[in-house]
């Protein structure tokens, strides 16, 4: 009885759904076109600048694992916006920031980027930290021909017309630091990184670079994000480098704390095992504890101790707004200058709405940033000074080496065989994102 009923039900439902689906398919073709008209506003005609405010988007993780780092970048961006507004705004209009939470979840980033562009009609977005989140939103920005300002040092091998990268490319952070280590600290490297794309790409670059310059990699290991048990890695380091050597650290977030605490516990100190980090800045030093980091190194473009008038102003303003115990760091500074560079570009272009004009106006702009004078290149990255710092007692960095002038960015890495000889130039339509340089 029930079986028959079940089958009959199934038939009924099946035919009902089938019927509807056939019906829908029949009408489907006609409706799609209707839907397009209603459903997809052309992207570049944004209307945010109407009235007396200009809407910009801020898209970072305020919750989840990445909130640790990204929250302060949002603080820096909001500081820059507030400063600009107090000084009269952009083109006489006040900037209004729409803040969205990417929740450390890459699909959410894509969703929120789309929301900011389509619904809030912002004229530009400042956002993202991890490479994964940037890669997630990239198709959205390319699809809508929109504009993202990305403030973090990253692994390169990308050059999008729709993203301005205000952090360092590998040749502005990783490569000079490896050169410095080869010159001053030793030729045997152990690579430690978190298990995600930046460390893996960075290590690919380092390996290629070391091969070219006569260093060796004696081992490498990757920790899952958030993992805090590093005993096996320490064993490996001790086995691979019994007499000391250089450790190149691309760990991110929580793992760093565990790594440095347990390195010290195991007796691997900076005298024999100097660690060069590219993801540890002033905030992280504060979170790890100076005791564990004293004497180790970090490579950045900006340190809080950089001695420029612009930096003094920046640090003071930041502390006044967020509390005297806060510190500034490289990604925060890069986010801060991103807002200013955008403002300059908008003023030069005379419009915030025409993104193509703003983009073209941005090339060649310079700005007296806290880190020194920076210039926006046609490859969407900025020229910046590279510095090596040593952690000192108060948790800030002693700058022990810095390049003579600003280093020009090379998004396509010149040590990796696959991208050797390629460059990027968006000011010239014929060249675009990836073209072969004449040898």
């Amino acid at each position: 009885m029930t079986r028959r009923l079940g089958r009959r039900k199934f038939l009924l439902y099946g035919s009902a759904t089938l019927g509807t689906s056939v019906l829908l398919k029949a009408c489907g073709n006609t409706t799609t076109t209707d839907a397009n008209v209603a459903g997809s506003p052309t992207a570049t005609t944004t209307s945010a600048a109407s009235g007396d405010t200009i809407k910009v988007g801020i898209l970072h993780s305020l919750s989840g694992t990445m909130a640790i780092s990204e929250k302060s970048v949002v603080d820096a961006e909001q500081l820059a916006i507030e400063e600009i507004n107090q000084a009269g705004g952009v083109l006489g209009k006040q900037i209004q920031a729409v803040v969205e939470d990417g929740a450390s979840d890459w699909p959410t980033f894509a969703e929120k980027a789309r929301k900011l562009i389509d619904q809030d009609r912002v004229v530009t977005i400042f956002g993202c930290w991890t490479s994964a989140s940037r890669k997630a939103v990239l198709p959205v920005f390319e699809d809508k021909q929109h504009m993202l300002w990305y403030p973090v040092q990253y692994e390169g091998q990308e050059c999008s017309n729709n993203i301005f990268y205000t952090g360092a490319a590998p040749n502005q952070q990783i490569e000079p630091s490896v050169d410095w280590l080869l010159e001053n600290k030793g030729r045997e490297f152990f690579l430690v990184g978190s298990d995600y794309v930046f460390p893996r790409t960075a290590n690919t670059i380092i390996k290629a670079q070391l091969e070219a310059k006569g260093g060796t990699v004696v081992g490498e290991d990757y920790l899952p994000l958030g993992n805090t048990e590093v005993t096996p890695i320490i064993t490996k380091i001790r086995q691979a480098l019994p007499n000391g050597g250089v450790i190149y650290n691309t760990l991110n977030g929580d793992s760093n704390v565990a790594f440095f605490k347990q390195m010290q516990g195991a007796g691997l100190g900076p005298d024999r095992y100097p660690v060069m980090s590219v993801s540890i800045a002033e905030e992280e030093v504060k979170a790890i504890g100076v005791e564990y980091l004293k004497g180790h190194y970090a490579a950045w473009n900006y340190f809080q101790t950089v001695d420029t008038p612009a930096n003094q102003k920046f640090v003071e303003a930041f502390k006044a707004k967020y509390g005297s115990n806060r510190v500034t760091n490289d990604p925060m500074e890069a986010a801060y200058i991103a807002v200013y560079l955008w403002k300059q570009a908008v003023e030069k272009a005379g419009t915030a709405d025409d993104l193509e004009k703003v983009r073209m106006a941005a090339y060649g702009l310079s700005f007296d940033a806290p880190e020194g004078r920076v210039t926006m290149n046609p490859n969407h990255h900025i020229s910046k000074v590279v510095r090596i710092g040593e952690v000192r007692d108060d948790g800030l960095f002693e700058i022990i080496s810095s390049t003579d002038g600003a280093v020009d960015p090379l998004p396509w890495n010149q040590f990796v065989a696959d991208t050797k000889g390629f460059a990027c130039d968006w000011s010239d339509r014929n060249k675009g994102g990836k073209f072969k340089l004449d040898a």
Binding site: R3, Y13, A16, T20, L24, G39
Partner: protein, 395 residues
């Protein structure tokens, strides 16, 4: 539905059931028509895309409802199946490389020195294979996992913890394989599918429509499974597995089957979600996401298919709105939602509506509550007792 009609003679009952079914089918097609024809006119492109994604998530909610609501197994690992489905379709799209390109590999591979396409990527050149894989891969993985677990009569909370641990395994594995499947970044930057541009509005609308059809199909399948003999067996397993065993059934096979079906639904949802989001990454196997899926069902109402769909839509809509309104503090609301649902609305919205909603509204309006036992109300003896009692108290 059947149980409420007990007492009506067989033939009439059958006719009545059929009529109810027709009504239900009518309602569903009406909703589908509204979703497909009216919604695109009301909503903006972004909102429509969001709705499409929520509908995709509703499919996985149905899957969760099947195994949790009806069979009583709380899986905290459906993110795995969701991600597998997503990866299956994404791998197919990533292989749509224009023949003019010099390197016939997805672009991330060349960066990590992969020169030849790994073997497990090859079948995904074929669209039919990928489409089947969306359902089959999660189903097979689910069946294997289910068999290993249920064979040992591991159930209840142990099952939940085990599925959670499996999520960790899969997450770390996918996250660590940079060369093969692009690690943390996952697969993104989709260009073409079946010759159409993935991000073109027409394609997106087609995917949206397809999602609705799949949702209806999933609903029909779940409805068929849960009514009738099979459904009652599932509920029997939920309510007392040992007794089912003593009655001569071996629940293992049924549990494995329903777990695999539910995994396949999750895979389907993952594929549709991926197509509309444009990215699939190991984050879909995050522990939190799998638990969230469960809460959708809990909000809507367990053991109610409509509830599962409703819950998925409502919670995701609320999440999207709240995280916009309170970008910094919305986790408080999410946490509170978990607490409130479990403590105040254990049967979900649908359950509350069915059992208490009517009474609550009535009591607020001041009229008398509906009786728990209607037959008592008409019993003259009870009436008499009441009169006596009320007289005594008034005196």
């Amino acid at each position: 539905m059947i149980d409420t009609l007990l007492g009506i003679p067989g033939l009439r009952r059958e006719r009545q059931t059929r009529r109810n079914l027709l009504i239900e089918a009518g309602i569903i097609s009406a909703i589908a028509l509204v979703l497909i024809f009216v919604m695109p006119l009301i909503l903006s492109g972004f909102e429509l895309n969001l709705l499409g994604r929520f509908l995709a998530l509703a499919i996985v909610a149905l899957g969760i409802d099947l195994i949790w609501g009806y069979t009583g197994m709380l899986s905290l690992g459906h993110g795995i199946f969701f991600a597998l489905g997503g990866y299956a379709i994404a791998m197919h799209i990533k292989l749509q490389i224009p023949s003019t390109s010099s390197i016939q590999l997805p672009e991330f591979m060349t960066l990590y020195g992969v020169t030849e396409l790994p073997w497990f990527w090859r079948p995904f050149y074929s669209f039919p294979f990928s489409a089947i894989a969306v359902l089959a891969v999660p189903a097979i993985v689910g069946a294997i996992l289910g068999y290993l677990v249920f064979r040992n009569r591991i159930r209840g909370v142990y099952f939940s913890i085990l599925t959670q641990a499996t999520t960790v395994v899969f997450f770390n594995f996918f996250n660590g394989q940079q060369k093969l499947i692009n690690g943390t970044n996952g697969l993104t930057d989709f260009r073409t599918i079946l010759g159409a541009s993935v991000n073109a509005p027409q394609t997106q609308f087609a995917i949206y429509t397809l999602t609705i059809l799949f949702l209806i199909a999933a609903y029909a399948l779940s409805r068929w499974l849960t009514s009738g003999r099979f459904g009652r067996l599932l509920m029997a397993i939920r309510d007392d597995e040992s007794r089912v065993r003593f009655s001569g059934y071996d629940p293992t096979g049924y549990k494995v089957l329903v777990f695999a079906i539910s995994a396949a639904l999750a895979g389907l949802a993952g594929a549709m979600f991926t197509l509309q989001t444009g990215i699939i990454s190991p984050r879909a196997m995050d522990i939190g996401f799998s638990i969230e899926m469960v809460i959708w069902v809990a909000v809507g109402g367990r053991a109610s298919l409509v509830g599962a769909v409703l819950g998925a839509l409502l919670v995701n809509y609320a999440r999207s709105r709240l995280s916009t309104e309170f970008a910094e503090n919305w986790l408080f609301f999410q946490g509170a939602l978990f607490l409130i649902v479990v403590t105040i609305l254990p049967d979900g919205l649908i359950g509350w509506l069915r059992h208490q909603g009517v009474n609550q509204v009535r009591s607020l309006l001041g009229s008398r509550q509906l009786a728990t036992y209607p037959s008592l109300e008409t019993d003259p003896e009870v009436q008499h007792e009441r009169e006596v009692l009320s007289k005594e108290t008034s005196e």
